[in-house]
Amino acid sequence: MQGRSAVVRLSLDAPIAVGAPLTTEIRVPEQLSDVALPRGLLLALEAGRRLDLDDGPVYGLVVGLSNLRADPTYLEHVLAHRDEPDAMGAVEYFRDDRVLDLVASQVGASGPRIRIDSACASGSDALIVACQWIEQGYCEDVVVIAAASMLDPVGLALFRNIQALNEEDDLGASRPFDRRRRGFVMGEGAAGLWLSARQHETVRGWVCGYGQSMNAFKLTDMPSDLGAMENACRSALGEVEDLAFISAHGTSTLTNDVTETRLYKSLLGKERAYEVPVSALKSMSGHCLGASSLIEIVVSLEALHAGRVSPTINLLEPDSECDLDYVANQARSVRGNFALSNAFAFGGHNSSILLGREAPG
């Protein structure tokens, strides 16, 4: 809310100058202190540890976590031992069911479990899986966690090589909707939430709708035909008019931000689109890849409660093609009971979640 940026200069042999690392301490579970663990998995464990779960319920678990095989520790090991099956035990927490089982055991989830990877939409898609489990009566309580960490030399190089990153040495380089935007700044992080079908004394918010679609366009680009993205948003929105704000995907890439602006004009109508604030958290957090959408959902729930939406910082030079109200540089009070949180991922996954401050009518 204070508009503070998490972006710092990176002090490693990195192909990129700035990034937004997670600054809080990550606790390595004691029994795992001697084994190699991917940082993405550690972040997922940390998010789970910080959830204040009740004893008693049989929790299902949905984890949004992309594959961990670009982690430098894993790569160094398998580059040297790729043809030695006996050497694979050293990297077992980087692959397959071991990842999910470990998170389940740490959070105490003994019910169904699944791992979702839809790139940058993994967090919100994980939440949708959990919602459907509850709607279908498969679970009463589900823990949803999303984590991502590619803020290392390998991850940065991979995304730089497809020209997705801003290569400037500038702490203000994450600037969604600004005319000077030149790609995203890599972040890392994790988020977790507990979704429940039961009555609780304290409720932090409600998932009131969701929608998904695929673009069938290109793996790394946005379509000119916005129909599929709009369908996802419309499925989530339903008949709701009382929209306090939109939490944008807002990556700070040239194409995404223009496309999103066009999308919201088409979705809300040209007049109303100028009235609904559009906030881009990535201006402060960088792009936390598969974790970003769940982080944005958690922040949006808090914003709904506070009646105050977080700002899009570094928005100093408006772009004529991005002319909506982006809550530039300062948090602002908002009215309304609902927020729409959007993720539009590599591979064409569109995922849209309608969050509510109060129970759906």
Binding site: D13, V78, I116, A119, E135, T220, G347, H349
Partner: protein, 254 residues
């Protein structure tokens, strides 16, 4: 939940499935290329054998290893030590091919299916969870209210570190790569798939259906259904994934 179609394309067909006309042997899928991973190519081959009659499905991808892209990193290793992150990595890293990210991402399978068939409906992309099919049954059911649901399981673990990993895990040397496509519709005629109402004894596809030296990671649930259909079984129960999960589903012909 009613099954309307089931098919598989595999590079190595288990003996128990060789007589099944819906199981096809393909050594190398046609769409496999520099930009489309092996698993995605198998997934496309399997999906195009399913007749959707122009309808757009809800897509459920259950994806294992998509095919190793480890070789892309070889060019960035420091020659004398062989280490990747030795000093100078920032400069050497420009030699890593730009396609590496795209080929490594497992959601690429869902993306390629969407691109190839122009599918723009909802999509769930789950990875690396052996029992994903069992845990997605409620989600598949939910989607059937609006459209048919296509489940595509795919995996290609035949190369370098993927092969070593599967051999380490399973102690088996024959690794099946391929894809299984299952189409669910409210009026599907092939049979019914559901969660059992109570726990009970079940067949384990990896132990009970296939040869002792063979493993088909991520494909077991789909192959178990095809096996049941091929044998004309009235009813069968299967358990998927590592103990002690006991993730079970039931097949019945009616």
């Amino acid at each position: 939940m009613r099954l309307a179609a089931a098919t598989a394309v595999l590079n190595d067909v288990p003996a128990a499935l060789r007589e099944n006309p819906e199981v096809h042997s393909i050594e190398r899928p046609a769409t496999f290329s520099q930009t489309v991973s092996e698993a995605a190519a198998f997934a496309i081959e399997a999906a195009q054998l399913v007749d959707l009659d122009g309808r757009e499905p809800a897509l459920f991808c259950i994806t294992g290893t998509v095919g190793s892209s480890l070789h892309f990193f070889d060019k960035a290793r420091e020659p004398s030590s062989g280490r990747l992150l030795a000093p100078g990595f920032a400069r050497r890293s420009r030699r890593v091919h730009p396609f590496t990210v795209l080929l490594a991402l497992q959601n690429q399978v869902a993306a390629e299916l969407s691109l190839h068939f122009d599918w723009k409906g909802p999509c769930s992309s789950s990875i690396d969870s052996a029992a994903a099919f069992v845990d997605l049954l409620p989600n598949i059911e939910s989607s059937l209210e609006q459209r048919p649901a296509l489940v595509v399981m795919s995996s290609a673990a035949g190369r370098s570190e993927d092969r070593s990993w599967v051999v380490y895990q399973s102690q088996r040397q024959r690794i099946v790569s391929g894809a299984v496509a299952l189409l669910f519709e409210p009026n599907g005629r092939l049979g019914d798939v559901r969660h059992p109402t109570a726990p009970g004894s079940a067949l384990r596809p990896d132990q009970d259906l296939f040869e002792d030296d063979l493993v088909a990671p991520q494909l077991e649930a789909g192959l178990a259904i095809l096996w049941s259909m091929g044998r004309g079984l009235e009813r069968a129960r299967f358990e998927i994934g590592p103990a002690p999960r006991h993730a079970q589903f039931e097949w019945s012909r009616e």
